[in-house]
């Protein structure tokens, strides 16, 4: 019950008027970001990060994580009312959410979406509360080889388990790691890959790259599409809310299953997108009435939303406990930690108790407040979509520029942002995934440092990565995941070769 006491401590850190006000501001901004086309969770957090530079870390992370919760809530509004998923993970919500809106049940669908989002993240936060401190204290025993093995595991699982073509994931990741190395080498103090440029001396800032990759490129992509939209306005009355909540218990299996899928995929770098689709499909498969899915079934809203939120929240678990983000947005929050002068990793739980528990407490409070906020203000946010994109696009560009410049006060970063905007646009169109790049860029230096420190410790003997049971099994698991497609194919072949012998006697 130690976690419980610490959680109460976290709430005590949180319950000041200033922090609560920042939470509200964060949630409102987040819902905006989620509703607007051309902006999403990661961009929103990246663009608004500079606002927090002068705050203390706890207020800063509370506001940023609330932007994140808000964006998760906001994505559902456009999917249901306009059939336009504000985020990739809300795509599955449109399958049944939009038909419901067409039948005049928009309020019901929205209530279902918000409530299940709330349940999903609540499950994930409970998991974080009770699991993260344990993992962190376990990870305190890690030395450089163990840390490198964990980084390796993260990178390998991206390559082996990602849905994209392998070489594209590999390109994205190695490019990210390479660009992380530009500038002064932290171990020897030598300059690398700067080609005599003074601007490159500082290195390529992670947040500048993210603002370009997600902010600017997203605007370019949005402009390509037809921006006309047609949808339903909705008001949520208390009667509808209570009606949906009354039905909730009968869907407990779906909710529980979706939460579990979300938590699992959130911790492993699978992500909210995969989680929402998987849980929708499973809900459909286990349903007695499969054909009603896609025609406005409330379960089809519950399943993906629960999973997406659980996964988005659970992605913060490895970030807090190990310093390894489980999603793109978590990677940006990690970048924020470094800006505020905190060193992400297991030591956070020891050295910055008020920060960690303040953050965890804010997850509970943020979700409760967020739920009430979205339920009461939906019509307002749906109306935001009436504002023409021609007015929003240049404002987003300006916000991106402010964000990019504020990080290091360098004009060079503005140009870097523009270059990354174009790179992001091209990469997205030819299906090179950006998440591995983001993760590699933020973890690159620390992965390299832990590799070199282990090499120095072991006098260049690679066997250090198998020197004890723990590091050995992590490294081996990483290699298995890296070659998983090959292993899976081989297993299938062996299975296929064995099966006919079993089946034959019956034939």
């Amino acid at each position: 019950m130690e976690a419980f006491g610490l959680l109460l401590y976290g709430f005590s850190v949180l319950l000041t008027w200033k922090t609560l006000a920042l939470m509200m501001v964060g949630l409102v901004l987040g819902i905006f970001v989620g509703v607007l086309p051309g902006l999403g969770g990661p961009n929103g957090v990246a663009i608004l990060l500079p606002l927090t530079f002068t705050m203390d870390p706890t207020s800063a992370i509370v506001m940023l994580s609330c932007i994140y919760w808000g964006a998760l809530f906001g994505g559902a509004i456009t999917s249901i009312l306009f059939n336009i998923p504000g985020e990739a993970w809300s795509v599955a919500t449109t399958f049944d959410g939009y038909p419901m809106a067409q039948q005049g049940r928009a309020a019901e669908a929205l209530t279902a979406a918000f409530t299940s989002s709330f349940i999903g993240s609540l499950v994930a936060v409970l998991l974080i509360t009770f699991l993260a401190p344990g993992i962190a204290s376990f990870a305190l025993k890690f030395g450089p080889p163990e840390f490198f093995a964990v980084y390796l595991l993260t990178f390998c699982s991206f390559v082996g388990l990602g849905r994209e073509e392998k070489y594209k994931t590999l390109i994205s990741m190695s490019l990210g790691l390479l660009l992380a190395g530009v500038g002064m080498d932290t171990v020897s103090g030598q300059l690398r890959m700067t080609f005599g440029s003074n601007d490159l001396l500082r290195g390529i800032n992670f947040l500048v790259a993210v603002i370009g990759l997600f902010g600017i490129s997203e605007i370019l992509l949005t402009m390509e599409e037809r921006l006309a939209l047609r949808g339903h306005a909705a008001k949520i009355s208390l009667r509808v809310v209570l009606k949906v909540w009354k039905e909730l218990p009968q869907y407990w299996v779906t909710l529980l299953r979706s939460s579990a899928i979300g938590c699992w995929l959130g911790i492993t770098p699978g992500g909210a997108i995969a989680a929402s689709f998987m849980s929708y499909n499973l809900a459909k498969r286990f349903s007695r009435d499969k054909d009603s899915f896609g025609r406005g079934r409330i379960e089809g809203v519950f399943a993906p939303e629960t999973a997406a939120h659980a996964s988005g929240t659970a992605a913060l678990l490895p970030m807090l406990a190990l310093g390894i983000p489980g999603s793109g947005t978590a990677a940006i929050l990690l970048g924020g930690l470094m800006v505020w002068g905190l060193n992400p990793g297991p030591l956070l739980f020891v050295e910055h108790k008020e920060f960690v528990w303040g953050l965890i407490a804010s997850m509970y409070l943020g979700n409760v407040v967020g739920l009430i906020l979205v339920l009461t203000t939906v019509p307002l946010f749906a109306a935001v979509l009436r504002v023409p994109f021609a007015a929003i696009a240049p404002m987003i560009v300006v916000s991106c520029a402010i964000g990019a410049f504020a990080i290091q006060n360098a004009m060079f970063d503005i140009w870097l942002m523009l270059i990354f905007g174009v790179v992001g646009y091209v990469f997205k169109k030819i299906n090179i995934p950006l998440a591995p790049f983001t993760l590699a860029l933020v973890l690159g230096n620390r992965a390299e440092d832990s590799f070199r420190l282990s090499m120095i410790g072991a006098a260049g003997d690679m066997r250090v990565f198998w020197s004890n049971g723990l590091v050995g099994s992590i490294t081996t698991l990483a290699l298995i995941l890296l070659f998983w497609p090959l292993i899976a194919a081989a297993l299938a072949r062996i299975w296929g070769a064995l099966r006919p012998e079993v089946v034959k006697p019956h034939v």
């Binding site: 500079p50 606002l51 530079f53 002068t54 009312l81 306009f82 073509e165 070489y167 594209k168 590999l170 390109i171 490019l175 390479l178 190395g181 080498d185 020897s188 030598q190 300059l191 690398r192 890959m193 080609f195 600017i216 402009m223 390509e224 599409e225 921006l227 006309a228 047609r230 339903h232 306005a233 909705a234 749906a382 979509l385 009436r386 023409p388 994109f389 021609a390 007015a391 696009a393 240049p394 404002m395 560009v397 300006v398 520029a401 402010i402 410049f405 504020a406 006060n409 004009m411 140009w415 523009l418 646009y425 091209v426 169109k429 030819i430 390299e448 590799f451 070199r452 090499m455 260049g460």
Partner: protein, 180 residues
Amino acid sequence: MSKLEDEIVVDDPTAPSEDSPAVSNTRRVEIITLLLLLALAVLLAWDNRRTGMSWDATGPQAGYFPFYLCVILAAACLWGLAREFLTRGQASETFVTRDQLRRVLQVFVPTLLFCLAMQWLGLYVASFLLIAAFMVFVGRIAAWKSLLTALLFSVIMFVTFQIAFDVIMPKGPLEALFGY
């Protein structure tokens, strides 16, 4: 009809038309990207070799880690190029149509000009110009609405960042006139 009241309709008069001719296909763009990345990998590998990519008394030299990353990047690019070569002749999707390219440039060129203007005019004046011009010329929104929106946004940004949060942005002659 009561149904109409419940609807939100937003038009997009300058939307790209569906039958606009393709400017390029995905395969061509992918090959160019892979070649550029390959060139980058070779360039960085050469630079890291110069920095030192072997081992010395203290462990791996500064160029060791990045050098092998260049090797991985180059190998992944060659893998992709080989794939493209093997599947040549198969149809490829459109990368961008002429109408879409026009719309993308409608945002990209003003953004580029905005970044240039920022060097001389400062961020706040440049953002006023960007928003006003974009709304008038691209969005075809009435001039007074555009100017008012741009002015309000720039002033709010100035108050938020310069005065409330103390985040310093590039400033130009106009801010100097007011003593900032």
